[in-house]
């Protein structure tokens, strides 16, 4: 798949996942909502990191640093909502 097609597919998938998180926010409650939203945030964020920021081919340290940031803040926010 060409890079432009891959970007277009990623964009459509990200829009779909965002709409899904909106639906989840209205349909789910409590722990299920928090877990679903946290997973969606990490998936979407990693797609932005790998495909839009193009850190797939960057030095591993940079990609890991940004990915760890994403997981830490997502887990922190979700953990506080669960508490």
């Amino acid at each position: 798949m060409s890079s432009t097609k891959l970007l277009a597919v990623a964009w459509i998938a990200l829009l779909a996942l965002t709409l899904l998180s909106g639906v989840a926010g209205a349909a789910l409650h409590g722990g299920w909502l928090i877990a679903a939203v946290a997973v969606l945030v990490v998936i979407k964020g990693q797609a932005v990191i790998d495909l839009f920021m193009d850190l797939r081919s960057a030095p591993a340290l940079l990609r890991v640093a940004v990915s760890v940031w994403l997981v830490v803040v997502a887990v922190t926010v979700a953990g506080a909502a669960l508490a």
Partner: protein, 199 residues
Amino acid sequence: MTSFDTATAEPASRTPSEIPGDLAMWCFILAELTAFALLFVSLAAARVLHADEFHAGAATLHPAMGLINTLVLLTGSYLVAHGIAQAKRLGVRACNRWFLAGAGTGLIYIVVKVAEYAQLGLAGYTLRSSTFHFFYFFTTFFHLMHVVLGMVILIAVGRRCRAGSYAPADLRAPESAASYWHMVDLVWLVLFPAVYILR
């Protein structure tokens, strides 16, 4: 600097060990991410300590507006990433209009956000209304300022690309601008559920 000619441009690409853009920009981006991480930790601590205020406060927001802004920023990120892909194929001049389109989505984001602030203001909500509203206004306005800065960077770099200020295959400046814009998008992907969805 000579003007750019697509017919003679060499395809631009990075080796696997290179970062997209300048190292200085990535130091700035990592510093920004650290600042936002501290804000998210503060937000999480406040949520634990004032759970009732957060529950009641989140109910005063309109998740649809946050959802629209998420779709808008993701579209902006796509347009900018597409601009970089085009620049790799055709040279840096090709990214200008995509960067302008990306900055345009930033303008839509600002209009929606200002409308939301106005709506909340007319309903009597301010920074002092509750702990939730303090964090809502503070974090979203802090993020809004980054959207504005991202737009300025995209427009400035896009204009320089069009003017032929960079060598056709030199993608460091446009990749730096794009990376900053994607960072703004990445932060919003966490901020949106943190204030609008998780109640």
